[in-house]
Symmetry: C2
Subunit: 145 residues, 2 copies
Amino acid sequence: MAGTEIKLTEQRRVILEELRKVRTHPSADAVYDLVRKRLPRISLGTVYRNLEAMSERGMIRKLGGCQCQMRFDADVTNHYHVRCLKCGRVDDVAVETCEVLERALRERSDYAILGHHVEFIGFCPSCRCAGEDERSDQPEGAGER
Amino acid sequence: MAGTEIKLTEQRRVILEELRKVRTHPSADAVYDLVRKRLPRISLGTVYRNLEAMSERGMIRKLGGCQCQMRFDADVTNHYHVRCLKCGRVDDVAVETCEVLERALRERSDYAILGHHVEFIGFCPSCRCAGEDERSDQPEGAGER
DNA sequence: ACAACTAATAGGAATGATTACTATTCGCGG
DNA sequence: CCGCGAATAGTAATCATTCCTATTAGTTGT
Ligand SMILES: [Mn+2]
Ligand SMILES: [Mn+2]
Ligand SMILES: [Zn+2]
Ligand SMILES: [Zn+2]
């Protein structure tokens, strides 16, 4: 239910406030630690559930768009990928890699940059068609894992 | 031990051959299923161990460079991130997002493209210094999870 | 062929992030 | 206060991945 309105409960409000305070891109359990200082009785499940609910609604971002399961590729040349949000299919894409991005960053960052990766997200040809049919009745949870 | 030479055992050879046959970017357990047709006694642990060993040596690629643990961000504006391979720290980067990539892909792909994400990888200022010190004695497993 | 030694494997247990489940609680209109 | 749907706390289950250990395969020297 990606577009549904959400009630701003105490727990959700505090999670959001704490996440807005930090610049560290915390993990779910790090958010849990922050929130627990103000709501000692909150449960980890509530943190996970609400982080998920809020990212579905675009109130926050979830990083590392890839699913948990790793994928492997015998092609070690530099190329980018596109992943289907619904079925998880991964394909190569036909855009050339963009080293200009890396050069630009090397000048502005204190990190020692080793590389970068780009992943497009969308719906593959078959899921795309399936989605257009059922768009009317089911808003589709976008397969977000 | 990223740069060490590797012996091409029967199991490794078959894993590599099967991975080279497909274009599907299979997961570890999908590789296991493929390999098991030829080596019915191979264990899942061996598949995981050797996929990891071969990707460390650049013989294959591991996709979804992000760790398993999700990170969250209250900043929902479009921006890219850089992740430290050693300590997992994630920072925002100061390069503007590259919509030209997405436009280019939309013309060439059958996917319905919804977006893309870019993640740079490298060493953060503190891990970078620490790494330079110990570079002599320990080759450093690059923190590859 | 045999012993000694090392690297790799099979199989199963352990781990850790995430999700599912369920009884209880909360908030709210009537 | 009552009834009811949404949300929560606490815990169990899931599932990809890693760890562990006894066994095996390969290698070198005799
Ligand atoms: Mn590929
Ligand atoms: Mn950010
Ligand atoms: Zn699909
Ligand atoms: Zn670091």
